[in-house]
């Protein structure tokens, strides 16, 4: 049976180049990047190359790159590393965030600070003035997601960052660009953006590695303590295989995205149209003009999303019900409920990758139609 993998927002299929870089770094080039001998110097050179590719992925310009254990740690480092314990600072964030940002902002509040959550307008897009209105003199940090993984919308991140700085130029601006880096043709962060979180496995690199990019002069307090790697801001032996793999994936993404992304956007839009045609009670979420390429969030009336997902899985189509970081949660994401998701609507998220073909889109739409019909008629249990 043909497999159609439309769950790239959970994790993307690893790139061959990334796999080769991991194998090389764990094989012949196994040395510790902090060792002073030649082999260590070679490993350190791999780290520096990866830094360059991560900067290029974020649109180029001057960045300091701190490697982390993934997007979650990068977001935690950005938020908790900017608001020292015991300070009664305010952080401003949105209701569209990944759990990593949401939970670290809640942690700031738990430690005695304040957390303000801004909601998007209809269609899941934040308005720069709404975010700026939440900022005051005590705001130490604003953290806004670039592409919202559960809503599927691209946020006007540079406009938001500028509006924030106009209100309080001392407030730091962080964006979680984990999904954005995997599906936008270009990231070009203006000077108002101070920190960017990225991760390896959404762009075709390995899991367990990510990066926090900081503008020169911006520093964060470490979350934990150890040696003097990465100037003590993020201690611990460099994960050379992971970093090399992520760097290779970033390199491929930078080389190919200008061409691959418009195609991905076209095919995603086409998938959306085909799903709408396939049955009644199906609608696409998120403001149409702001939908991210390769990220289609669909509301389906009269089914349970897990049952629909498993029925599609029976025919070889792999999708998800929302963020995998929340897959044991039973309720739909709060931001979708705020946006008008009805109690009898289930959420299914299709996230095709760059390699998607027209055939995949047609097959996926057909499987969706068949599966939905089976679930609605109550005969999904028959073996194929």
């Amino acid at each position: 049976m043909k497999e159609i993998y439309f769950d790239n927002a959970a994790t993307a299929r690893p790139r061959e180049e990334a796999l080769a870089a991991v194998v090389k770094a764990m094989g012949p080039d196994f040395a510790n990047a902090s060792s002073l001998h030649r082999k260590g110097v070679d490993a350190a050179a791999r780290i520096r190359e990866a830094m360059e590719w991560m900067s290029a992925l974020a649109g180029g310009g001057e960045w300091k790159v701190l490697f982390t254990s993934g997007g979650t740690e990068a977001d935690n480092l950005a938020v908790l590393g900017s608001v020292p314990k015991g300070r009664r600072d305010t952080v401003v964030t949105s209701s569209l965030e990944h759990a990593a940002v949401e939970s670290s902002c809640r942690e700031v509040a738990r430690r005695g600070g304040r957390c303000v959550v801004v909601k998007p307008r209809q269609g899941g897009v934040l308005h720069p003035q709404d975010v700026a209105a939440a900022v005051d003199d005590r705001t130490a940090l604003v953290s806004i997601v670039h592409v919202a993984g559960e809503m599927g919308t691209v946020q006007p991140i540079n406009d938001i960052a500028r509006a924030v700085k106009q209100k309080n130029k001392k407030a730091r601006f962080h964006t979680d660009a984990v999904q954005a880096a995997a599906r936008l043709a270009r990231l070009d962060y203006g000077p108002a953006v101070d920190m960017v979180a990225l991760c390896g496995h959404k762009i075709g690199g390995p899991m367990g590695v990510g990066a926090l990019l900081l503008r020169p002069g911006v520093t964060v307090r470490p979350l934990f303590f150890g040696g003097d790697q990465q100037e003590g801001e993020r201690p611990g032996t460099f994960n050379v295989p992971g970093i090399a793999g992520m760097g290779a994936a970033a390199r491929m993404m930078v080389a190919e995205r200008a061409e691959a992304v418009p195609r991905l956007a076209d095919l995603t839009a086409r998938l959306g149209r085909r799903l709408l045609q396939s049955a009644e009670g199906v609608r696409l979420l998120g403001e149409e003009s702001c939908r991210a390429p390769g990220l289609l969030v669909v509301a389906v009336r009269g089914v349970r999303s897990e049952v629909l997902l498993h029925t599609m899985e029976k025919y070889g189509l792999f999708a998800s019900a929302g963020s995998a970081c929340h897959s044991t949660r039973r309720e739909p994401p709060a931001c979708l409920v705020d946006d008008g998701l009805a109690p009898d609507e289930a959420v299914v998220r299709f996230t095709p990758g760059a390699g998607v073909t027209e055939d995949d889109v047609e097959d996926a739409a057909r499987i969706f139609e068949t599966a939905l019909q089976e679930v609605r008629c109550g005969n999904a249990g028959r073996m194929k």
Binding site: L309, H310, K314, G381, R382
Partner: protein, 390 residues
Amino acid sequence: MKQELFSGAGVVLRLGELYLKGGNRRLFMNALVANAKRALQGRDEVRMHVSEGRVFLTGADDEDICARMRWVFGFSSYSPVRYCEKSIDAICAQAVSLARAYGGSPQTTFRIAARRSDKSFDHTSAQIGILAGNAVNEATGFGVDLESPDLSIGVEVGKEWCFLWTQQLEGARGLPVGTSGRVMLLLSGGIDSPVAGHLLQKRGVELSGVYFHAFPYTSDGAKQKVIDLARVLARRQRSFRLHVVHFAATQEALRDAAGQGYLVLLYRRMMMRIAGELARGQKMAALATGENLGQVASQTLENMAVVEAAAPFPVLRPLLTADKLETISLARTIGTFDISVRPFEDCCTLFVPPHPQTRGRADIAQKMESRVDIEACVADAVRTVEVIDL
């Protein structure tokens, strides 16, 4: 040669009720030794001997070995031991060495509990106790307390061996797995059914399992959970065969036929038929469930009778009268609880209305079932069953 067998560190295992067995004792012993050997797989340096109604391990006495022996059914208790030469001097020296290893202070109290099963040994049990006690007292200054000492040193002298111990661990008791026949256990992924399986194994039953999988209504995560539960039970057996029955289509057919809160009863009747058919194919004598009287609507006396009426074999219910907290506590002890509480659904809740029947009648269930091709459902389930050998 024998001296070498029983030297250094080891573990001595004491038999439980097996000791009571008469003519069949050899059969039970063979099963017990085979099970203990299997539990030791990978620790090839450890050797096993049976002598004078005990099982002796030599070569190691570490925590891993003790943990491996914890769930070998048939042993009442076991102790890490130091073997020694069969002479009073060696016994005294070993007792002193164990007392020193204990540490303690001048306030520490001890006793020697000596047992001489070899009556030809030139000191009686009491004499051994006195001589070894004096030696320990002189060497360490520990005071003697026969009632409730801090440290109790056991000495046992047999025909072929002599050993000392300070610690007695609780064994799994019961009968060796494989000596009471084979049973098909209905595993749901909940807390109860693995515990029911454990209790049957404790009475010497060798299990196979059957799980009713409702994909796409439940996920493959639910199936993995049952596989992981079965693995825990499988560790105490030669092998464990788990049958995964694809049940969703049958559930859909029953849903369309059922009425008046009978759906769960029809599911369970069908499970009995399918499990029975699988059991028959493997020459098993009974089915088993984790059912518990009154726990849920399908587990009233009336409903259990309705379900049992469809079963081709006796249905064993080891947890029938167990208290839920006792079951949870046992599930924690045997290591299945954390697996059972993983958040996946169980197929019995599928399509089920909020008010199930609590006093079902077999004739009504049969009437509803006449709208379904029961034989075809059973045959289909058996034909498409997925077999996982653990």
